[in-house]
């Protein structure tokens, strides 16, 4: 099998966007019926390479061969005609349409006068989903089904167009641990039925679990293609980042002290005025990291919003060191030294049109020494930014750059630098490493542990179970707006947590 003709071969692909060289003479060879992983940090050029293969971007130079024969793929229709299908990072589904309608969209089964044959479509989709073991209800509406199911619909869409090679761009980013396991099983099944799969990810564990070979890309260039079976996660990570990285969070046992944050019987509604947090009680102590594990949509966002004062608390109390802070304004809460790293860094953490320096005083812009009698002290603000940039290793080290021009990891560093520089008693971190790569993740985790070691309370909210388990000293599981269990870290495994998160119980 090793010496057979590659199913897909990309030779010396170069693709630039203005001054950015997204792909620099990249060569990639994928064997038939292989699961081939593309590994690389954010911005390494993985998506670009696959977009070239799928015909979304023309390459500046280089060629593509299918089964040894050169082909010209100028647009996605060419790729589809050649049996290549792609599932994008952001799904492209029509929410109010049914699953079957979405799948046949663009190649509908029609009768005379172009009338849609709904029944046939639904049956065809049912048959397809059965054949490949991708369980879906063809008549359900997209807006009513889970993200995991939507992803299956995307895969079915490709299969419906007779895709033989499937490209999956970061398919696990949005899935729960159970859904990830199901996806892995699906991928195995597809390969058994003759398909070839290219999967983009930067999660090492998944690569080990599912792929045969892995091509590592760093800054637009191929570092190596390795057999996954004989390469350790540590080696993969080092190749990806270009230096030694620490995959496990190194920390001393926690030394928890008095309760800093006490949440009692909290009720908070979501934006549609429906209950989201429903009688939640929780204590967080100084000197510990409390991790909250949950499946998205169980009230964690609303909890955090209520804690930082941007969402109204219906009933219940939030106390900091014994005094109530329920329904104070964000500014009042901030002034009591509660800081937060918001879930959505670009929307809530930063003003992207402001410079790094300006962002680093957001919240303290009104205080001495950054402002005097209402006038901003630009020099002081610049120096302050310079210090934080150095301390937190923000790159490029330019206070005058716009925050929007930084990479995600560096944007996150700006936020962390700012929040930690307030010396908060409580630090609330929501999805602090979402979308970041290994190097930046290591950094963020280090910052959280440092904060803890300085005797402060840290509340970590994350959809990434590995993160919750690695970083936290205690773990609380939320389901439907309530805490359904609190455990010391190490007391429960991933599977047990997954069960609780899905509303199950441990007995």
């Amino acid at each position: 099998m090793t010496d057979s003709v590659p199913r897909i071969e990309m030779r010396n692909i170069t693709k630039t966007f203005g001054p950015t060289v997204a792909n620099d003479t990249i060569s990639l060879s994928v064997r038939p019926q292989e699961i081939h992983a593309l590994l690389g940090e954010n911005g390494a050029g993985k998506t670009t390479l696959m977009n070239v293969l799928y015909g979304l971007y023309p390459a500046d130079s280089g060629e593509v061969l299918l089964d040894g024969a050169p082909v010209s793929i100028r647009e996605p229709a060419d790729a589809i005609a050649n049996g290549i299908g792609m599932v994008h990072q952001h799904f492209k589904l029509v929410e109010p349409f049914s699953i079957a309608q979405n799948i046949v969209l663009g190649s509908e089964i029609t009768g005379p006068f172009g009338i849609l044959k709904e029944r046939e479509a639904s049956e065809a989709v049912g048959e397809l989903s059965h054949r490949y073991g991708l369980d879906v209800d063809p008549d359900a509406l997209i807006q009513d089904v889970s993200v995991g199911t939507q992803q299956r619909v995307e895969i079915l869409k490709a299969l419906y167009r007779n895709a033989d090679v499937l490209i999956l761009d970061e398919p696990t980013a949005v899935l729960t641990p159970q859904e990830i396991e199901e996806l892995i099983a699906i991928m195995r099944g597809l390969v058994e039925q003759g398909k070839t799969i290219i999967i983009i990810t930067h999660k090492l564990r998944e690569i080990k679990a599912v792929s045969d070979r892995c091509t590592i890309i760093r800054r637009g260039r191929v570092i190596d293609t390795v057999e996954v079976g004989s390469t350790s996660q540590q080696e993969l990570a080092s190749m990806m980042v270009g230096r030694e990285v620490n995959l496990t969070v190194e920390k001393e046992p926690a030394q928890p002290q008095e309760v800093t944050l006490r949440i009692s019987d909290l009720h908070v509604n979501n934006s549609r005025e429906l209950p989201a947090v429903r009688g939640l009680s929780l204590d967080v102590r100084a000197g510990e990291i409390l991790g909250i594990a949950e499946v998205d949509g169980n009230g964690q966002s609303q909890l955090v919003e209520a804690l930082v004062g941007v969402r109204h608390v219906e009933s219940g109390t939030i106390e900091m060191k014994g005094s109530a802070i329920t329904n104070l304004t964000p500014k009042q809460i901030f002034d009591r030294r509660i800081s937060s790293i918001p879930e959505d860094r670009q929307r809530r953490g930063l003003v992207l049109e402001y410079t790094v320096a300006e962002n680093m005083v957001l919240g303290t812009h009104d205080d001495e020494p950054f402002a005097r009698r209402g006038i901003l002290q630009q020099e002081v603000i610049g120096e302050h930014a310079g210090e934080l940039i150095e301390k937190f290793d923000v790159r490029p080290p330019e206070p005058s750059y716009l925050a929007g021009s930084l990479s995600g990891g560096n944007q996150q560093k700006v936020i962390i630098a700012r929040e930690v520089s307030h010396d908060p008693e409580i630090l609330i971190a929501s999805q602090p490493t979402r979308g970041l790569d290994v190097g930046a993740i290591e950094y963020v985790h280090r910052s959280l542990v440092d904060q803890r070691d300085r005797g402060k309370a840290v509340l970590l909210v994350s959809l990434d179970l590995d993160e919750v388990m690695n970083v936290s000293d205690r773990i609380a599981v939320i389901f439907e707006g309530r805490i359904v269990g609190v455990f010391a870290s190490g007391e429960v495994d991933e599977h047990q947590l997954g069960l609780l998160m899905a509303g199950g119980s441990l007995d």
Binding site: P342, Q346, L352, E353, Y354, G374, L376
Partner: protein
């Protein structure tokens, strides 16, 4: 293809080159219209230029014409910088003029007090008028575009109603009483119409100063430039400006950063209203000395929207854009006198030139807003 795109992007990012190109295109298209209408474009543009630049009187008049729209443009710019569309400069301008007229004739104070008193009062009234739109948005979620359009009409009818009150309307006229001399800011305005003044002007007819005095020269432009500087300073150098702009760029991040978003919106609209109303006040104090019953909206506020766009929604840009706009309008008048071109043609040509300058900026503004919205959407998609 990518190369062309890059060049396009580079041009978009160089505001000066871009403005120049837009003017050239606008002038060319205007020329085509002139040819089609049967006028020699070279002569027509020559007349417009002469209309602006020949002699102190024309130059001064062009500046006087520009004065109100520099400030209404600044008002629109200020709101825009803080994320709000102020379509209400028209109404705020009227409120300012109304306030200035009433306090100008009914209160008697020495000039050193009367002038600042009337200016500040006009600005305050406009602040309340604009702030009301901000409050409606903050409290009830009424979009400021809708609210300010309604307030324009209310201001319009309020103006006409108040002018028609017996205690305000000057007998045998459709206007209010004239403001007292102590509230006037026109330069030598009273003197030049006095017997001594008229005699001097006759004796020195044709001299630089005599020519200058034929224009309605007043201190308005000086005040306006000072206000532009002040607003630039507020926007860029103060914590207030920092907060208002932060809200304009990203409400959520501003809220997380402890900024009171609702309060910011009210303040933004109040300041925008104050600027436009000051413009209306200066117009009364410097030129008209009265307010009249209006048949239609005069358009000083709406022109401000175009001025703000031509100036690329920067504070200083309004000075240049206002002068360009005011200059074209004044110079266009000569076209009518000398070539017999109907005023409609002149309006079309001027409109075309303005269009080609303003629209690309408008498009750029829209593209930026869209990109921002899209970036936000993608972020939420991942969640």
């Amino acid at each position: 293809m990518t190369d062309a795109k890059n060049k396009g992007a580079a041009l978009l990012n160089n505001p000066f080159a871009f403005a120049l190109l837009s003017i050239v295109v606008g002038v060319l298209v205007g020329a085509i219209i002139l040819v089609v209408a049967g006028y020699n474009p070279f002569r027509a543009y020559g007349e417009i230029l002469a209309g602006i630049f020949s002699g102190p009187r024309n130059i001064a008049t062009a500046i006087v014409r520009s004065t109100p729209i520099v400030l209404t443009g600044l008002s629109v710019t200020f709101a825009f910088r803080t994320g709000l569309f102020n379509i209400g400069a028209e109404g705020q301008f009227l409120i300012g003029g109304l306030t200035a007229a009433l306090l100008g004739f009914s209160v008697s104070l020495p000039p050193i007090l009367h002038i600042p008193f009337v200016m500040i009062a006009a600005a305050m009234a406009g602040a309340a008028w604009g702030g009301l739109a901000g409050y409606l948005k903050a409290r009830f979620g009424v979009h400021e575009v809708i609210a300010t359009i309604m307030l324009n009409w209310i201001a319009f009818y309020l103006n006409n109603f108040i002018v028609s009150l017996p205690s305000v309307q000057r007998p045998e006229s459709e206007a209010s009483y004239k403001i007292l001399d102590s509230a006037r800011i026109d330069i030598l305005g009273a003197w030049k119409m006095s017997d001594v003044g008229l005699a001097w002007r006759r004796e020195n007819a044709g001299s630089f100063f005599a020519e200058l005095l034929r224009a309605e020269i007043n201190w308005g432009i000086v005040v306006s430039v000072l206000v532009v500087v002040l607003i630039w300073f507020i926007l860029n150098k103060t914590t207030l400006g920092y907060e208002l702009r932060a809200v304009g760029f990203n409400r959520d991040a501003a809220e997380y950063g402890g900024i009171n978003v609702n309060r910011s919106m009210v303040i933004s609209m109040a300041i925008a209203g104050a600027i436009a109303a000051l413009s209306g006040g200066l117009q009364v104090m410097g030129r008209t000395q009265e307010i009249t019953k209006l048949a239609v909206m005069e358009g000083n506020g709406f022109d401000g929207i175009a001025v703000a766009l031509i100036g690329n929604t920067t504070a200083y840009g309004n000075i240049f854009a206002g002068l360009l706009f005011g200059g074209l309008v004044h110079g266009g008048g000569r076209l009518q006198a000398r070539m017999g071109a109907p005023s409609e043609i002149i309006d079309i040509v001027i409109g075309t030139i303005i269009f080609f300058i303003a629209i690309p900026n408008l498009i750029r503004v829209i593209i930026k807003a869209r990109e921002r919205a899209k970036a936000k959407k993608e972020v939420t998609d991942v969640a």
